[in-house]
């Protein structure tokens, strides 16, 4: 299983956390998430795998946690 955490506005689109069957990479995960939550496609966010931000497609291990974080501008 892969645990996905949604932050900020993304939690309104999906939910705060979701569990998904294992997929091999973050690109594949994104594809799955966009099918499940079409509104995600219009959102801007970065991803972190096991609390480490990533900038390219990353292989996922079983039981890992992926976080999706949007930028905040409020002050």
């Amino acid at each position: 299983m892969i645990t996905v955490l949604f932050f900020g506005k993304l939690a309104d689109i999906a939910e705060a956390a979701a569990e998904l069957p294992h997929v091999s990479s973050t690109d594949e995960l994104l594809e799955q998430l966009r099918l499940q939550y079409p509104a995600l496609a219009a959102e801007k966010f970065i991803m972190a795998v096991d609390k480490k931000t990533i900038s390219t497609n990353t292989l996922l291990t079983d039981n890992c946690t992926v976080a999706l974080l949007p930028p905040f501008s409020g002050g």
Binding site: L5, F7, G8, K9, A16, A42, E43, K44, I46, A48, K51, K52, T53, I54, S55, A67, L69, P70, P71, F72, S73, G74, G75
Partner: protein, 374 residues
């Protein structure tokens, strides 16, 4: 003030294990610039001033309004309508008269940023928009200044210490986290999304704490880390930030290049390919073949007499498209926002059958540039 009074004021932190007189002296010698005197800026300022930071700068061009008071705790109803920087200093001087204040009752821009930021050791970003956030980041990277970042949205907040010198290298900066500014409308601000007043109190206090730790060398900083907090479920989440290889290429190469980077534009209408600058606009006007259209409401200032044009307010544009027989259409308004929206509408209508442009920066910027070039 004599040393006894100093000791009395800071006694509780002077006796603190791992802090003491040396740390206090570092605070008294330090200078901090707080950008934005709003929800985050208020608690940041209160705690930094109370702790005894020697010199504080405040940048904000806003005035106090009633809807600020639920979260901007330095202000009260008597201050409504007055500049925030002035009200903040009045309150903060009462709190600690020894602190030296410098106020900038202006918006931080690509033109003034490097001059203002240069005068301070540490920068604290409590601004409320992406244009300022990317500008602060890029300026801090170019000036080698550490900056304490905090941002909020609805029930969640983020804190990080960015671009700080650690082990002979600079820690991650904001562009390592979010490389590109979002476009207008992609991310909501507090005015659109709402915020509970306590949240900036919590996040702002954390920012003040990191600032004090950074100045005094106390504890472990949130460097190369992003801390997030959710007030609804009290969940915290700490991420490790990885540096991105492309970050350096996204930041202007020099302070001169920074001055030429239009952050407002990067963060708002960056999707528009059909914006033209004043020079291109003047060429089209001189050519005389294009339809030049003012999409502002009737009677809006300034009145344009420098070139002939027609007036079709944006909200009635769709009803008057038959007037636009020319092959090239150039739209303008005051700031360039409405004309950009008009250009989008017309491009959808006419497709590639006409060339449609919007004057970037609007007639306001165009008039300023004409004055400068005369």
């Amino acid at each position: 003030m004599n040393n006894d009074r100093l000791y009395e004021r800071y006694q509780r932190q002077l006796i603190l294990k791992g802090f003491g007189a040396e740390a206090q002296q570092k605070l008294l010698s330090a200078s901090v610039l707080v950008i934005g005197a709003g929800g985050l800026g208020c608690p940041v300022l209160q705690y930094l001033v109370a702790a005894g930071v020697g010199a504080i700068g405040i940048v904000d061009n806003d005035v106090v309004s009633l809807s600020n008071l639920h979260r901007q705790v330095l202000y009260n109803v008597q201050m409504i309508g007055r500049p925030k920087v002035d009200c903040a200093v009045e309150v903060l001087q009462q709190l600690n008269p020894q602190v030296r204040f410098t106020v900038y009752n202006e918006r931080l821009t690509n033109k003034n940023a490097s001059t203002i930021l240069s005068a301070f050791d540490v920068i604290v970003d409590g601004s409320d928009n992406f244009a300022t956030r990317y500008l602060v980041n890029d300026a801090c990277v170019l000036l080698n200044k550490p900056f304490v970042y905090g941002a909020i949205s609805q029930y969640e907040g983020q804190v990080a210490v960015l671009n700080v010198q650690e082990n002979n290298e600079r820690s991650a900066n904001y562009r390592d986290l979010f490389p590109h500014p979002p476009k207008e409308g992609e991310v909501l601000n507090c005015a659109e999304a709402g915020v509970l007043g306590v949240l900036p109190g919590i996040i702002g206090s954390m920012m003040a704490n990191e600032t004090i730790k950074l100045i005094t060398g106390t504890g472990a900083l949130l460097a190369n880390k992003l801390f997030t907090y959710n007030t609804l479920n009290n969940q915290t989440y700490e991420l490790e930030l990885s540096k991105r290889t492309e970050t350096a290429s996204l930041i202007p190469a020099t302070l001169e290049a920074l001055q030429e980077t239009d952050y407002e534009w990067l963060c708002s209408t960056a999707t528009l390919a059909n914006e033209i600058d004043a020079a291109a606009f003047n060429d089209i006007v001189a050519d005389g073949k294009a339809a030049i259209v003012d999409v502002r409401e009737k009677d809006e200032q300034p009145v344009v007499t420098e070139f002939s044009h027609m007036q079709i307010p944006l909200n009635s544009l769709q009803q008057h498209t038959a007037w636009l027989t020319e092959e090239t259409i150039v739209l303008f308004c005051l700031s360039g926002k409405r004309s950009a929206a008009a250009a989008k509408q017309l491009t959808e209508l006419f497709g590639t059958s006409k060339k449609i442009y919007s004057l970037k920066g609007g007639i306001q910027q165009w008039m300023q540039q004409q004055k400068q070039t005369v």
